[in-house]
Symmetry: C2
Subunit: 296 residues, 2 copies
Amino acid sequence: MNVELTTINKLKKITIIGVGLIGGSFAKGVKLAGLVEEVVGFGKNTKNLELAVNLGVIDSFSTDIGHAVKDSDLVFLAVPLGAMKSVLLDMKPYLSEQTIITDGGSAKSSVILSAQEVFGELPKHFVPGHPIAGKEKSGVAAAEANLYIDHRVILTPTVNTSQMSLETVKHLWTSLGANVEIMNAQQHDEIFAATSHLPHLLAYSLVDMLNEHEELGDVFKYTAGGFRDFTRIASSDAVMWRDIAVYNSDAITKWLKNYGNAIDELTKLVEHKDAEALYRLFDDAKNARDKHIVNK
Amino acid sequence: MNVELTTINKLKKITIIGVGLIGGSFAKGVKLAGLVEEVVGFGKNTKNLELAVNLGVIDSFSTDIGHAVKDSDLVFLAVPLGAMKSVLLDMKPYLSEQTIITDGGSAKSSVILSAQEVFGELPKHFVPGHPIAGKEKSGVAAAEANLYIDHRVILTPTVNTSQMSLETVKHLWTSLGANVEIMNAQQHDEIFAATSHLPHLLAYSLVDMLNEHEELGDVFKYTAGGFRDFTRIASSDAVMWRDIAVYNSDAITKWLKNYGNAIDELTKLVEHKDAEALYRLFDDAKNARDKHIVNK
């Protein structure tokens, strides 16, 4: 595709807003792949930004957002969902018309709404995105150029998103080894509410419930590997998940209610010792999981 | 303790009822540690029992329960909870008064009730037990002498359990490297309903719900490591978990209802976008998990 290649050749400066695991791994990856001449980081924590430079994640940084995004070909927003709107507001006066804006937020409709509110209409070069990657560790020290290899990246272009900006962002992710998929924002938010946001909230809730029932005593010492794996995601960053719960509230509420209904049904089966129905439910779930999920 | 040592020295024959992962690992362990002269396996599947002999898990086997338990010093029941009562009934005519009976069932009150029903009163040498060990693999081929090292084994003696039989069973588990803890059956069932049975049922339910919502499409392909870990236990054996749900129905029902209430509360917080309360809940859970659970 000529359009794409022409664009890629032109990339001189990329700005990373929020240099943590997600933003830092993207930065390190595009630098290593030689896809850009200069990667500039923006953040509030100077120490973190200095570390990022020392680790070779970014070339330079600025704590002045105007300076950081000036003449940038592409700005990648890797901040919590709750910070997206204020960052967009802050950078707006300094963006050129050609600058591509993309992000790594776990919910997409809310970011799109913020962009609409900030810019009046949705910018032509705005490409909402969500890399499905993460680790238990966070922060720039954990950033790796290969984080996205074989991971899925969902892009959810708006009605205004230009083909050129979509192809550019897609090309960058593909160059980092990711598998890019396009869908609309609402579909994205539904799917990830069900497959990611819901299990995180369920795990937090279980740990919280056990922690609050003092009659169980020192109950955690009786947990085993199953509990450890089930609740691993309850060790995730609380600010990030507060924001996801708030900024994908509609879809998560829907799936929490669906799940609550499923639990009510299950409770009845257990209470009535309905062995046959319980077996069917467990066996169906086991077969579905064994078929679809590869253990690692 | 003289009583204990005297007893242990006398152990000539141990019978394993159900030679799978749990029973097989116990058998292999006590053989390897030289704690018994002869280990006999009982089951219905001759091929499985022949495999167990070939793997050095048991010395010999019988598909005749009378022959298998005759003159045995200790019988270990490692069958699903739903089979406990019929096995006790079948072996009853052939047990000597001195034979210690112990088991590995994941719920204890139901096994104790079965013993009471079968024997009229609770046998003096009955030591209900629950080794907290397991692997994703099951079956005798996965049996290992070191399965129980550093794992917890809960013993829940009844009012009739003799000190001698309790000490003997405790000594065997300790010799296999396990950490033995004594508690009453009801407390055991409550704790494991909350920490093990509940998460298993929650994981089965989530996979089942996603599997049934066709509007989500091929939703499993969008799942990542968090979902894989959260649902790992939904690949557990459906018969075993049907039995646990049925045979620990009271305690599990109670915790399912508690959890259902917690989910209702959480749903309200998400629906009302109560960022502060959500943060508190997630942060409390994260801190509790980080404090109590060691990741592996």
